[in-house]
Symmetry: C2
Subunit: 638 residues, 2 copies
């Protein structure tokens, strides 16, 4: 791999942090446990048992249900990399045994096809997600191998990858209907040091938009797969999303054009960001700067025209997809949790190659908002799609028939260590401000870095840098995009900070030194680009990395009746008792006086006075943890 | 009839008016002609031909298609009452001949049943509209008889009414699925002086909400009618609207409770207002003041909580119905043209009994806005449902499968004479300001009243009162609700005006006198009750009786980007060249500066300046006469 900046491994970072530590405990103790129970309850593991026993029919759940097991193994493996947990390790080993037993002699592994249509492997790439499941198998296997050194699942993944490598590009000229295997193969290439997996990833990245395979499948699915798509539930359920006015429209799966000809980010949001994450890996590995620039243009289209203030992406419900520029409805926002997570995967890779702070800024926004909102504080209720406004009919759910999001949150939270630091040849970048200890090796020097911070509630960060022996290197601190004023000191001596530069670079001979940074957290009253009709005349509150919202339970009036002026002052108040401890924003706003309306529905606006009222906002990630109720991110602006 | 105030007959009023005369010419020359062509094109007349020939099957159009013919005859009859038109008269006579020939020996008349299921008469009152069609037959017959003195159609109506009178209350304890016959029977009672039609109307009014017939039909339709409602398209199409959570919910047809127990106006809007119009007739005829008070409370619920600023009613698309209090979406507003017209029928009756100006004020609002928007300036394109805001995907249509609205507009415009004046024992009320001449008899005195006005463009009205011999009586002028300042003079002598009293009453001995009234028309910036979420923070422009809107074609920016402050000044400018001559409102507004947004999607609101811009608004009724485009009634308020 030629990535310029390397993240630290999970076992070289320990998170001890007032905010994230609790979320990770809940993730470990509740979500990952709960997720395992769902694997049994939904028959996901049973699919492997029955497939290995040679049974037929009655596959449980979605045709990509195998991936739920793989993603659980991946999340559990990150936990095992972080700490000893013999019980969890045994449970993972048992699951791996079931999976390995279900693998066929030629390396192929998919319980839907094994049980339901063994003769129809690779006949419906568009819909049936064999390569998607293979990708998650590989990611789970790599995580498990890195965490435990055990090779059973890795060998299963290798055997399947080798089988795929034999078939694709040779027998079949096609790419996955749902991207995922691209970035997985890059991980496999890294851990095995085998170039052919990288080449296969590159084939999948480059071939999309060139091959006619999807069109052929739509036109001749009866011939290719032997079934009638209009009769077959699986094929028809999702089929409509590929068509525009009755014509095949590859945009849904980013297959409407070769990647290098795509000028805007289109289609199914999770597919898009998984794809571009894999493509970034390929661009990095092959030194393809042109592709990297092109990916940055797509990233800019996403962040400058097609993203919610929370970092949520994919605004359109139908097709779970990107819509047009500036089309960002709030009460029907889709903003799938998985899409924000996939965007984090992509941005992290873009940063590792370019070092540009904007990518890390977006990760921070999505970690604290679009991703974290996906799971309840108790770790057992989940949002799949995320609205920014509701009258109260939207709540997290216990599980989903298509259960992609909860395991994605779990594997991200369990691997948060990998998003905090990167090491390059010159030194260390501190990307996310999360308390704890890291032990990078910089050049030849072993260094211990200890972060102490109350982020996101306060903007102060202390970093102790303890080098095994005094050594010259650079330490880079990201100046967050939300920060209006930043001061940085080393051992009490101020450092020049250019807040717009993205990173403050401190080059010196490090020994046993303390960096103290103060990133000012004022309450920002934000507005959206005037082309965003749904936000027009509205404002959103942000403090530090957190986007805020009003919840019905904290406010007397219907939420739409509050108006916030740019100069309204807000008090940031730490409320230890509320929502496991949050800083609320309490402030003045106005609402219309209700005087004189009796018996009237319309009247001259001059007759209405506004009256001062108080509003109380909570962090968006924490909403809907106190029962159902109305919620609103975008408030009326004065 | 015991109505306190009597409208003038069509032939005693001549409309010569800068505004309405042209609309009525178009109605006569284009709409009524076009509507007749549709009767042939859609096979409506052919249904009568084939039924009278004893044919079977292949009924054309909707199961209530007969009513299209009856409503055309009614509109044409109003034209014939106003002027000689031998060609039109002959065409009407021919249609009447077809209808009369299709009547069965026992008086029953309905071509859907005659052709499709002759043995199933009266088996599906809920859905199949036999009584609704009978009502329109009666209305058409009364209008034709009054206009021409010819009795052919009146006799058909009498025979059918007698047949209905024999069956209902005796053989069948039931009421119409779609109200209409109630008010029609009251007209028949008046023209024939037969109380039994009034009694039958009263039965239909009072029995609704008591009889179990609708429930029985839903539960036993197979037994009653011999068909399976889940298989039969006609029965299932509209069936869902009767159910709430799977249970029968009579609200759709106002059958959820007896009228006197209904506290809010519910269900299908056209059904509701037709019903309450008929009930008002019954209350008036029976001197039932309690019922009249109850109807007024329903009217208040409608106007104070469930009505668009245009006077449109029935906001909910599904079920074409009233929704909850204050639920008035703008881009999905239903506001069916027929419902506004039915509301005019109801309000006119409420006024005739009570003399309260509020009813006439609403009629004025609906005539100039909610009704008139239903037809294009060329008389050949129609709105069935009326949005108050669109991004441009909404336009009038040439015709509808369910073609209730265009004929309703036609019959209202053709009978506008009946809405201008009422005579009571004390004198004359001038209700609507429309130029022309009326020749009422007040007491024993023949009077000629001549109105001269440029309404709705200017607020001046001159009324010449010319009594055949000098006589004492009252002339009442309505002071419109929109008028902020009113002056009235008689022969140059000022009269005291209490603008809140509704009417200015001038009692004197009239001879040959001139009343000059000045009703100030300022541009009102209106807002809606704060409980109307969809209008919150928004304002609407009104001048005189006209509600205004912005159309894309007249304004540079996306319409949602304009903000209007309460003190923004507007110039009212007569534009003879535009939309057959309209007063436009030209004024200052603000829109956000687009500076500094490059590459940004969100930023602190303090960074954005507004810039002054000009907007140009046109009357709402005139929108969408220059091709498709965005339109908006409710603008952002500052």
């Amino acid at each position: 791999m030629s990535l310029q900046r390397q993240p630290l491994s999970i076992d070289s970072v320990t998170i001890e942090d007032g905010f994230w530590q609790r979320r990770r405990e809940v993730n470990r103790e509740q979500t990952i446990e709960y997720q395992y129970q769902q694997l049994e309850a939904a028959g996901t593991l049973d699919n492997f048992r029955r497939a290995s026993a040679g049974e037929e029919g009655d596959h449980n759940g979605m045709w990509f249900q195998d991936s739920d097991a793989y993603k659980w193994i991946e999340a559990a493996s990150y936990v095992l990399a972080d700490r000893d947990d013999p019980e969890l390790e045994e449970r993972v080993d048992e699951a791996i045994e079931l999976i390995a037993a279900a693998q066929e002699d030629d390396g192929y592994l998919n319980t839907y096809f094994a049980l339901e249509e063994p003769e129809k492997r690779w006949t419906n790439l568009n819909m049936l997600h064999e390569l998607y499941c293979a990708g998650h198998l590989i990611e789970g296997a790599v995580a498990h191998y890195r965490a435990t050194g055990k090779e059973t699942l890795l060998q299963v993944a290798i055997d399947f990858a080798d089988h795929i490598d034999e078939i694709f590009g040779e027998e079949i000229d096609g790419v996955p209907g749902h991207q995922e295997i691209e970035l997985a193969l890059m991980k496999l290439a890294e851990v095995t040091d085998e170039d052919r997996y990288r080449d296969l990833a590159q084939y999948f990245v480059d071939r999309r938009g060139h091959t006619d395979r999807f069109v052929e499948e739509f036109e001749n699915i009866e011939e290719i797969a032997g079934y009638d798509p209009d009769e077959d539930g699986i094929a028809t359920d999702a089929r409509d999303v590929f068509f525009e006015d009755g014509e095949y429209d590859g945009q849904y799966a980013q297959a409407h054009a070769p990647l290098r000809d795509q000028e805007t980010i289109e289609g199914h949001a999770v597919r898009a960001v998984y794809y571009y994450a894999g493509a970034t890996d390929v661009a990095a590995a092959t030194g393809d700067d042109e592709l990297l620039d092109h990916l940055d243009r797509l990233w800019q289209n996403m962040t400058q025209k097609r993203m919610y203030v929370t970092g949520g992406i994919g605004s359109q419900h139908f097709g779970e997809r990107f819509s047009e520029d500036y089309d960002l409805p709030n009460d029907t926002s889709y903003a799938e949790t998985c899409a924000a997570i996939g965007s984090i995967f992509w941005s992290q890779r873009m940063f590792e190659e370019t070092g540009e702070a904007k990518y890390i800024d977006l990760i921070e926004r999505q970690l604290y908002n679009a991703m974290l909102v996906g799971v309840s504080l108790d770790g057992q209720q989940f949002f799949y799609d995320n609205v920014l406004e509701t009258d109260g009919n939207k709540s997290r759910e216990g599980w989903f028939e298509c259960a992609c999001c909860p395991p994605n949150v779990a594997r991200l939270l369990a691997s948060l260590e990998r998003y905090l630091y990167t090491v390059d040849e010159d030194g260390l970048s501190i990307n996310q401000y999360v308390g704890g200890t890291a032990t990078p090796t910089i050049g030849e020097t072993d260094v211990t870095v200890t972060q102490t911070t109350e982020m996101p509630w306060e903007g102060t960060v202390e970093v102790d840098v303890d080098a095994a022996e005094p050594s010259p290197f650079a330490v880079r601190l990201r100046v967050p995009e939300w920060c209006t004023d930043a001061t940085v000191e080393v051992n009490g001596e101020p450092i020049d900070v250019d807040a717009d530069a993205g990173y403050v670079t401190i080059e010196r001979k490090w020994d046993n030194d303390r960096i103290t940074a103060e990133f000012e957290q004022s309450v920002e009253v934000l507005e959206a680009h005037p082309a965003v009709e749904d936000d027009f005349g509205r404002v959103a509150l942000q403090r530090g990395p957190l986007v805020y919202c009003l919840e019905e339970i904290d406010n007397d009036r219907p939420l739409y009746q509050y108006t916030v002026a740019p100069d309204d002052a807000f008090d940031a108040t730490l409320r230890e008792d509320l929502l496991e401890g949050v800083v609320t924003l309490e402030g003045e706003a106005t609402a219309p006086s209700m005087d004189g309306w009796d018996g009237k529905l319309y009247r001259p606006t001059a007759e209405t006075d506004d009256e001062p009222v108080t509003i109380s906002a909570v962090p968006y990630y924490a909403w809907n943890n106190r029962g159902p109720g109305a919620m609103r991110v975008w408030l009326n602006g004065a």
